[in-house]
Structures are given as C-alpha cells and as structure tokens.
Symmetry: C2
Subunit: 126 residues, 2 copies
C-alpha cells in the first residue's frame, strides 16, 4: 500500500461550537467521532469526496494558537460569495471579500473559523 | 455541489527540503505545483486516494511556527515501524516510538517534519 494522507487535525477550544460552524454553516459532514481520555475528535469531510479535516479538543487544556504553522484550509464550494456571506452572518470573521482570479479561473474569499484558523472559500469556474 | 475540503496548507521554510522529505522519504506524490509572486506551493497526495496536503513557501519571509493551531497530519502507511525508522534515519525528529493500540487496531508513531510539524504514522491492522 502506498503512503497516503489520512487527515490533518486542527486544535479547537470548543468542539461543539466548531462542529456547528463546519457542519451547519459551511455544509461539511461528520465522517467519524473518536473519544479517548486525552482528546475528543470530530472527523469532517464530504460523501462527495475531497480531503478530510479533524477537529481535535484536548482535555489537557492546551492553548489553541491559530497561525504560524498551518496557513489555511481550502474549502471547495460552488458559491464562494454566498458561502462567505452566510459564514460572516453566522459570526465568522471576514478576512478577504470574494474576488475573481482570472488566471486560475476561481473566485476566492477568506474567513476565520471560531478559533481563528484561516479558511479559503474557493469556487472553481469551468 | 456540496461543500468539500480541498486541502490543508502548511507553511514551510524551505520548499525543496520539505518536498524531498514528504516525497522521497515518506513516499507521497506531487499532485500539482502552483507559483505566484507571493507563494510557491506543492500539493501532495497519492494516486491511491486519501487527503491532500499543501506545502506553502511564502516569499514575504514570514516565520514558520509549528504547533498551536495545527496538531498533526495523519499519514497512513502499511508499515508504521519501517516508515518511522526510515524517516528518523533521514533526519526526522522522533517524537514517539511505534506502539500498538489494541483498542483501535492500529500501530502509530510520531515524528516531526523539517519545520517541526507533527506527523502521525498510522498503520491499520485488519
């Protein structure tokens, strides 16, 4: 079996809050839940495919400091502008308004999740 | 189209060094390369499936500070112990020796990539 990437896990400070944001607001799906004495995890993805993102809450109370190591999560959507407006209305911090990049035939917008993790909302134009 | 996760991008301080590590040592594949005046990116994954990880080098010289926001990248392999030994021999920092978790039927080991990003090398036992 070749090496593959299973998922990338981000630290979050409030697992329920983050799950509501990624699932109810952004539209991702919960693929699995894992609980151990040290950590509670929600695995996010989509039955339509794509990558998987793990939200991880550590019971040791470690601080969640977004930025520095992880740059951004690329979230693919068919309506970057609409998802940006929806997320901001739901309380997400707006970082960059939607703009069209002719060179890459995409519309992108940037927001921050409840912990400050940077998300790029990208819409590919075919 | 439902919302999906495209990839998660990690900041790296030396793109060529990181590419060698993830491709030559860990066995991942380069799926795409993107260059703009601001950032040079290598998209990693596997033609066998799984998630995608972006390595991103910013030309603005921003510091790469692993930890805090991103917890770990889960790398799936069919030989956790072998990949751990190979990676450490190639200079990766060992964090946790391979150990078997009967509860989850996996063997896991932890290392750090050249920038200090934490990687879990996981082998599922069926």
């Amino acid at each position: 079996m070749p090496t593959t990437i299973g998922n990338v896990a981000l630290n979050v400070s409030d697992l329920e809050r983050s799950e509501r944001f990624y699932v109810d607001v952004l539209g991702l799906e919960v693929m699995a839940r894992i609980e151990t004495p040290d950590v509670r995890e929600v695995l996010l993805g989509s039955s339509a495919g794509g990558s998987q993102l793990m939200l991880a809450f550590h019971t040791d109370g470690r601080p969640v400091e977004a930025g520095g190591g992880m740059w951004k999560v690329y979230v693919a959507t068919d309506d970057s502008e609409g998802l940006f407006r929806t997320a901001v209305a739901a309380g997400a911090e707006p970082v960059e308004e939607p703009r069209h990049l002719e060179q890459f035939k995409v519309t992108i917008a940037f927001i921050r999740d409840p912990d400050g993790h940077l998300l790029e909302l990208g819409q590919q134009h075919t």
